[in-house]
Subunit: 220 residues, 2 copies
Amino acid sequence: MLSVAEENYIKCIFKKSERSLAAVSTNAIAEAMQTKAASVTDMLKRLSEKELLHYKKYKGVRLTAAGNEVAKQLVRKHRLWEVFLVEKLDFSWDEVHDIAEELEHISSDELTEKLDKFLGYPKYDPHGDPIPDQEGNIKYRSKVTLKELEVGETGHVVGVRDSSATFLQYLDEVRITLGSTLTLRNRFAFDGSVQIELADGRALVLSEQVAKNLYITVNS
Amino acid sequence: MLSVAEENYIKCIFKKSERSLAAVSTNAIAEAMQTKAASVTDMLKRLSEKELLHYKKYKGVRLTAAGNEVAKQLVRKHRLWEVFLVEKLDFSWDEVHDIAEELEHISSDELTEKLDKFLGYPKYDPHGDPIPDQEGNIKYRSKVTLKELEVGETGHVVGVRDSSATFLQYLDEVRITLGSTLTLRNRFAFDGSVQIELADGRALVLSEQVAKNLYITVNS
DNA sequence: TTCCTAATTTAGTCCCACCTAAAAGAAGTG
DNA sequence: CACTTCTTTTAGGTGGGACTAAATTAGGAA
């Protein structure tokens, strides 16, 4: 049985490892967890003791297979709860993160499986991120940011890179949602902003900042 | 912000106060919380510091208005989650207590209210206990145990006194559920057992033990 | 190679929530 | 009243998870 703090460290390290494939540094964890490096070192020793990660002084850490398993189950629970909050309880997608952050620590496996069934075995959460299955397999979708799209290409929105409340509220404001279909019409070299056309015919100019944070998939 | 441990103590004291109206003793709390009296004294001082209860050495404790409020919100959340687990996720009533025990500590008030709405504002939980409303008002139902019913009287099952898994499983076994209508047909002085007749015509003999743990309401 | 700087770890505290052992109060009994 | 017994509190200690301040190490620059 892991404590909430331990689970949060595991999840944090998992997230950092997802792309970088290098060992995760103490400082990076400290920053992400809003705590001090000394506290992180403490925790790393404990988690290493429990064989959830490999720890060598000054060398950063990587999760063990067991640690990875724990992390993926947490991500699974987090994303399932987010679906529940948005689809069943009518929360908007920018409100659900913090609540799911608490709900993901509820331990019952049976609860997770029944929730999954109740929700109809969803594949993606409200932000477009894939939900790991019971065995922890994650189906990543090939996707590019809107910034990387070619002029003239059409795709649809499958996720956000920055899921801060302010960004999500901005998207609500301009009525871009998950699944929105859009075509890149123009790219302005001046400031990196892009002009898009939505399925309903609306034309919008989005800043480079926005274009970098919107994930698009071209086929599917 | 209260810790999970603090909340559990508050709820425990609340439950003890519900019937007895006397101050709750340190030992009673220790027993209910599966801990030692010394630990309880520790916690009582902290909670008293936070003005959640009145504490005088050797005199037992009572919750303050603020403490009562906290307790009732916890009970509200616990029972709403139990309804969710049984009605939506298809758990049976003997499985939900421990999970609800974790879920009740999720802090978001907005979550509680949206859950309440999603469930259709239920008044009673799966064990027949009343769910406090948003302001903390609890509508107690007048009820008697089956043991106290008069021969010939008809009523229906509105709750259980002992909600242990074994008792609830027993009830499932003999197909008595919340809302079952029954008539007391006979009382055996020898061992205190009772004979009842159910709405579907089945006649059953229940031990005194069972009769004492089934709550019945005659009208309504 | 040596030095410097940034990253990391160690050492020493703190608070929370528990523990054991021992002291002290409450309350009934002869 | 004095005694006994049970309950409760105090005193002192532990591990988890955080902190600050000081020491150590890694790794690049001179």
